[in-house]
Symmetry: C2
């Protein structure tokens, strides 16, 4: 019973390593500050397909294949895929993974799904249910805008608090076989609803959920912010970051020096017209694969708290006047000597 | 490593019991053959709310609360909720569980989600990550028709192969604490796509996935159909059942005497105008809670293979001419002496 830590966390008693990783993005992400770190940058936003949804599926498939190739594994060696995306009924995932022919657990945690997939994948490996599993997530700017906001052709104005959905997919292979980064702990988030009703201000909707997971992680593991080299949220952006820092300080922790947000890192706000930053399942996933994990592998960072953040926005509930609740999932990543 | 059985299955080495269960349904389900077995039958299809989506959330919340009350537990004793529904971005779940204030893993496997939630919940308990978890799923006829097919006001004709989405929610509490039914094994499904493009014939879309899970379960555990008292699919209906029996026989197994389908059991085809049977996440969930588990508890049945089936239908992919892939998740349930 000592795997359970505090109220919302678990400590993995058997090491689970990230032994494979891949990132596939669109052109805009390739032009951003992390552009040269991605495995594949596709110039064609349609990824050679006839619809935005199939484009996203193709990107997800490419990420999965690339992670397998880099790790020297075949799909048949994967016991499970834990995967999800932002689209209704997870169609990017359904059509993305079907040819891999691997048992699938479909997940939905909005943009926090990367954290959810790593958490459940790590629990499966640590529990002895699998030798290798894949955690896979994606988002696509055009399929997301079409579903959640306005058709691109409409050319609507975007307020400064709006984020830009990342076109990207990240794939991770987890195993008990030794790698250079391990997942040592998990803090699973609750739904936190501050009553935000603005679909153009997702940072504000997600910040309270991120605060809950970060503060609870520190309490559950009896740590201080100094025990982490970085505390990294998924896609709060500039607006959400300020709210987070304020909320966390109310909980008695100052994480200003430690905090980083994937949505802020992935685009150049000044030149790329992305307003408050990047967002989407793909945002945290490709930043983890291309930027965070290499620094952990090299030992530049020793221990990181990775917190993908999700805004549970739905066009149906939004149009019916409901709020946008938030959720976040925390993953403790550690450098292995 | 001996938890892994064959290609797609695991055997739980530490017993996981179903220690709580509840079913909440709509009026039509209450008028069906299982009507007197449900915990709550709500006469008002709106469940006192202003939208179909909030009605479904309210039903899900009632199911969760009833399961907790019957088991004598409070929400704070739940370590995790594994939950999902059919609506885009799982809004029935988001607004259904938020007041419970419990860490959440959002799941999507279409109508197979009940199986997915039981599988992951059981893996969490068996792995020592939780004392109590809840598996929770729902569907609502009106919210599903609105999303997937036509507005009810349109009054469209339904072909005879169409199923009727069950208005119902089932909640299950899993624990290592001794109960009268245990989950002893899990067979996780792959996406199986036979190219079905008819959104009114979900039974045909799901039957191949159910066949894969049933045949693989028998192979992985070295069992014959006779080793189960029942092999129970979620919502294939009359059309899907015939296809399943044919496909399974091609795999060398005759399950005609053992097969039962929740979608066939839940309505009276002759008097309730439900055509091919019931469907939806709620169909298998409420049938499990109200009908299957009591018979396992009493020992009338000793071992059952429970296989919720899902059709990965999306209005977007469907309107773009894509097929409807299927998925299924198998759970081995055993009577405890």
């Amino acid at each position: 019973m000592d795997k359970m830590k505090g109220q919302q966390s678990i400590q993995l008693d058997r090491a689970v390593y990230i032994v494979g990783r891949a990132s596939v993005t669109g052109k805009k992400e390739g032009e951003g500050p992390l552009g040269d770190k991605f495995d594949i940058v596709c110039e064609d936003p349609m990824f050679g397909q006839e619809s935005w949804e199939l484009a996203e599926s193709t990107m997800q498939k490419k990420a999965a294949q690339t992670a397998l190739e880099k790790a020297g594994l075949s799909p048949s060696q994967l016991r499970y895929i834990f995967a999800g995306d932002l689209l209704g009924q997870l169609i990017a995932t359904s059509f993305g993974v079907e040819t891999l022919d691997v048992p699938l657990f479909g997940l939905y945690g909005a943009c926090s799904t990367c954290g959810e997939s790593l958490a459940l994948g790590a629990m499966a490996v640590c529990g002895g249910y699998a030798d290798y599993v894949m955690a896979l997530t994606s988002s696509h700017f055009a399929s997301a805008e079409k579903q959640f906001r306005f058709p691109l052709e409409y050319g609507n104005q975007r307020p400064l608090c709006a984020t830009w959905t990342v076109t990207g997919s990240g794939a991770f292979i987890l195993s008990g076989k030794r790698g250079r980064v391990r997942i040592s702990g998990i803090t699973t988030g609750k739904i936190v609803d501050y009553g935000i009703k603005d679909s153009m201000n997702m940072g504000a909707a997600m910040a309270p959920a991120a605060c809950n997971v970060i503060a609870q992680n520190l309490r559950d593991f009896h740590r201080q912010p100094e025990d982490y080299d970085k505390i990294i949220t998924g896609d709060l952006g500039y607006v959400g970051q300020e709210i987070l820092l304020e909320l966390v300080s109310e909980q008695g922790y100052d994480i200003r020096e430690k905090h980083m947000d994937c949505g802020i890192e992935i685009y150049d706000q000044k030149t790329q017209d992305t307003h408050a930053g990047g967002s989407g399942c793909g945002c945290s996933a490709v930043t983890l694969a291309a930027y965070i994990l290499p620094l952990l592998e090299q030992g530049t960072w020793r221990r990181v708290l990775f917190v993908p953040t999700g805004a549970l926005l739905s066009p149906t509930s939004f149009n019916e006047g409901q709020s946008v609740p938030g959720i976040a999932h925390g993953i403790v990543l550690e450098h292995v000597q």
